[in-house]
């Protein structure tokens, strides 16, 4: 991909946020966010309401910072509209023109970018997202996944140097997801700076090696995906146990070095452990030794939000 402009100085980040904050009345959406992006795929991870969309919209110039600044290629986008020649954006939600066909929609994007051969660029972009056989279909008749891919075609038609994707996998089936993830990887490997948001950890793992974790409008963690995943893995997890006499299991469980706490509640107990694996290995032996027949063992649903909260509490 070869959109214009690109940074002439490699030391200049493609995207740079300096103490960016955004608030609406009394509600703070994003607070004091600073990071920079360079070529490659970066994942923006966070639960719903964490400020991901606000951050992406500020980067692409749809929102003005309440405080701080957002720079693209070292410049402020509000003062240089031509920077949009280098930016492709797949916004959240269904922001398409239902009467248009896939071909006319993508061509419209190419023409609005001022491309010399808009028709050829549109065909290439439609082919990249595997929609050529459907190119004459109207957007209102497409599935969610097809509409999502149409938006991607519109965003990459001018071969941008910076591609911003807000929850791009929403509505795609597993096959489409796999192809799309491969496409994003290829774009990243071609030297494009890609920022892709998601609230699903597994999605980000497959898309990006570098991640930014947003929680409550603040940057909770940033860096290599594996390092952050390990940090997340340290979080104590809760295991619910129901047994014939659960109380007799408590002393043995609390003696495990990885157990954080045990609470007995009627015929069950709730244990918090740093290693579910160690807990699962020790529990059957303890139950046999104590004659406490196990009825049910399950981990509670550790939502991503809880993991993020844990990360924030460790900062």
């Amino acid at each position: 991909m070869s959109g214009q402009p690109r940074p002439t100085d490699p030391a200049v980040p493609v995207v740079e946020l300096r103490h960016f904050s955004k608030w609406y009345g009394d509600v703070v959406a994003v607070a004091d966010l600073s990071f920079d992006l360079r070529p490659g795929v970066t994942g923006l991870l966070g639960p719903n309401g964490a400020g991901k969309t606000t951050t992406l919209k500020a980067i692409c110039g749809l929102l003005h910072p309440s405080q701080g600044e957002v720079l693209l290629f070292g410049r402020q986008i509000h003062q240089d509209t031509m920077l949009y020649r280098a930016i492709g954006v797949v916004p959240d939600g269904d922001r398409l023109y239902p009467r248009l066909t896939i071909r006319s929609y993508v061509r419209l994007h190419a023409e609005l970018q001022g491309l010399a051969d808009a028709g050829a660029a549109a065909e290439r972009a439609i082919a990249e997202v595997d929609l050529l056989p459907l190119a004459e279909r109207r957007l209102k008749g497409l599935s969610k996944g097809e509409r999502q891919r149409t938006k991607v075609a519109g965003a990459i038609v001018h071969q941008p140097a910076l591609l911003i994707l807000d929850e791009p996998l929403t509505g795609m089936d597993p096959g489409q997801r796999a192809r799309f993830i491969e496409l994003v990887r290829l774009i990243g490997e071609a030297g494009v700076t890609v920022l892709v948001s998601s609230h699903i950890l597994a999605e980000v793992e497959r898309l990006a090696s570098q991640i930014l974790v947003l929680v409550g409008g603040r940057l909770a963690a940033s860096g290599d995906y594996h390092a952050i995943r390990d940090l997340m893995a340290d979080q104590p997890r809760t295991v619910m146990v129901r047994a014939e006499d659960a109380r007799r299991l408590a002393p043995g469980l609390i003696a495990l070095p990885t157990t954080v706490s045990v609470e007995v509640d009627g015929d069950g107990l709730r244990a918090r452990t740093r290693s579910v694996e160690a807990f699962a290995t020790a529990l059957p032996r303890l139950a046999r030794d104590q004659g406490a027949g196990l009825r049910e063992v399950r981990t509670t649903d550790e939502s991503l939000e809880q993991v993020f909260r844990y990360l924030v509490s460790r900062r």
């Binding site: 919209k57 110039g61 509209t81 949009y84 954006v89 916004p91 419209l108 609005l112 001022g114």
Partner: protein
């Protein structure tokens, strides 16, 4: 094609898409052309009839309604649907986006108003009739359209129900308030349009208006440009959430 022209063509296509053009054309043509058919069998002077029809139907009702319908939806519909991001994330300055949307609304409104007015005039006169009168009403329509469309585009950036606000202005302010407080004509697009019509017909027809020809023309141009400037500034500073 330059992005501005692409956007203008696309926006015009959106405004006239589907049956909207046909429906609006019929809504305007019926009250303009039908009475003209009946005037041919009466003793009425066709020129007087055409002028009265313009002053009593086009100016107070058809002109504001048609122009506000198109101008409030040109940008307003895109803001409501969120599709405006498709346009704002392009290397086109926001004032140019506003300009293209404004021009599309003007062209769509004129495409409806000018032919129907001309047909009504020709049917009433049984031919071209007074070409001075025809030219004056058409030119006055252009002036009114330019001003109302500027207002409609600005309202769509300020209010979710911009069309209602615009119609309230046209019917309540221009229709009622100006009637009891003539000095309010200085803030009335209808007043400007009537004044411009009087200027164009000077000498030909005796037309009493609240605003003089010069002040009406100057006010029409000034207010249109000022409203567009405010709208451009508003769009420039707008957050798209």
């Amino acid at each position: 094609m330059r992005p501005f022209l692409v956007l203008l063509r696309f926006s015009l296509g959106q405004l006239l898409a589907g049956r909207r053009l046909l429906v609006v054309l019929l809504l305007v043509a019926v009250p303009l052309v039908l009475p003209a058919v009946f005037v041919r069998g009466s003793d009425l002077d066709p020129a007087t009839f055409s002028l009265d029809l313009f002053r009593q139907l086009v100016l107070p009702v058809l002109l504001p309604v048609v122009t506000l319908v198109f101008s409030t939806s040109a940008l307003g519909a895109e803001l409501r649907d969120g599709t405006v991001t498709n346009l704002l994330l392009k290397p086109i300055p926001r004032p140019a986006i506003l300009g293209a949307k404004y021009l599309a609304a003007v062209l769509a409104a004129l495409l409806v108003l000018l032919p129907t007015e001309a047909v009504g005039h020709i049917v009433a006169a049984g031919g071209l009739g007074s070409t001075d009168l025809l030219a004056a009403t058409l030119l006055a329509t252009v002036v009114g359209t330019l001003a109302y469309c500027a207002l409609g585009v600005l309202l769509s950036l300020l209010f979710a129900r911009a069309l209602l606000v615009g119609l309230a202005y046209a019917l309540l302010w221009e229709g009622a308030v100006v009637g009891v407080a003539p000095s309010a004509s200085s803030l009335s697009i209808r007043g400007y349009t009537e004044g411009v019509l009087a200027a164009l017909l000077s000498g030909g027809v005796d037309l009493t208006t609240r605003l003089g020809p010069v002040s009406a023309t100057v006010l029409a141009a000034t207010v249109t440009l000022a409203v567009l400037a405010v709208a451009a500034r508003r769009l420039q500073r707008m957050d798209i959430r």
